[in-house]
Subunit: 133 residues, 4 copies
């Protein structure tokens, strides 16, 4: 099952509102269960370099069905997945990407957010994810 466009746009709306509340300018990407882009929005004035990062975070979260930051903890020097970022045309493994699940726990897509600190990116991604339900 795939996240629908309605769900994806609801996630982007919630993430955008959370960003405005926190006075942030974000790039927000949604991919479906096949890790293919479903919806995207760049808030006015958000970093250009974060377009690709938001999309890569969403893909990375779906590629491994976990928050991107979890991968980053073990891709460090000496970690078990050191330099995994070289796969799949480039992964982003710091926080800001989160899988999106259906009511029964199946992963149906993922959200990726980029434009501020990784803490803020994750907070906004979470707000977007929570809108899908």
């Amino acid at each position: 099952m795939n996240v629908s466009l309605d769900q994806a746009q609801a996630a982007i709306k919630a993430a955008t509102e959370k960003s405005q509340e926190l006075n942030l300018k974000m790039n927000i990407a949604i991919v479906d269960a096949g890790a293919n882009l479903t919806a995207f929005a760049r808030m006015d004035g958000a970093w250009l370099g974060s377009i690709d990062i938001a999309i890569k975070k969403a893909k990375t979260a779906r590629f491994f069905d976990m928050p991107t930051g979890d991968i980053g903890q073990i891709s460090q020097p000496g970690g078990s997945l050191f330099n995994i970022e070289h796969s799949n045309g480039g992964l982003i493994t710091f926080p800001g990407g989160i899988p999106i699940k259906s009511g029964n726990g199946e992963v149906i897509g993922a959200i990726g957010v980029s434009g501020s600190t990784v803490e803020n990116d994750h907070t906004v991604a979470e707000a977007g994810m929570n809108a899908v339900n």
Copy 2:
């Protein structure tokens, strides 16, 4: 000046409604004056291969400030821009990409649509473009 996210989302909304009216499933991409992705939507069930094509059409239209189909007419064998598609990481030069202009005629972005015949793609792109004003 750049197309704003509000304008981009209005264009996507109008393009989506035109697609539904014509019973089509489209991928719709908006880029800003810097040819950077601003907003994107894939309607449920739209072709996966059209994600990249919609984005490339929008970029191509802004890269040269003209409808993509105009470029395709001179990129044919023997034409003056033969195989220009090899540049910029891949151009798409058949119809479906159109520049978006501000009230005073300045190009502020572009829309790219993919998912049906090139005639339908162009019609839906036009509907999206017309919503920005």
Copy 3:
């Protein structure tokens, strides 16, 4: 819904047997509904250059939910989709890629075959596709 590994391996087995019957050496790729690789086999002595072509044919067939050869007919010079091959990291638009459908007509993946003439590639792909049911 996605083609399962069992279905993908059955398709590869049928395609391999058809190839042997025709005295051909083929590369055979199966992708799922998300256009992600599910199974692959290169018969001993098959062309190395056909590894990538078989995979790209399978992806192309799923990207647009039609046999690859159908796209090739309109991507010719003067055709409405001229040079569409520049999208999606490279498409292959001559015959040998076919969508795979479930019993109810939903596209659940695709098969791509490369290693001989395009007629033979298509015939072998068809044999593989027919094994999924």
Copy 4:
């Protein structure tokens, strides 16, 4: 000499069975002596991001005729092969890739496995490798 398709499929079968025994969902890739893909299987529900990683592990193991984890130990910051992952379109240097040898010790290919911890990936790769003899 190259691993044959029969050998490659036997390796995939053994690796798949080992994965089921350990309750894991794996991506399994086999390359030949030329480091070209020979066979591949993604078990139902296995991580999408591991498709590319399994293939890259198999290639990396054959590129240097050693287990991928051995390379990872010297590609760390300060190590003699720091960031070797940037070569060859992207290497994966954590465990899960192992060369496959013929009876007389010649390297005839390699197996790459991805989908779980690197320890499990290596265990399953070993099971696959042992089936080729």
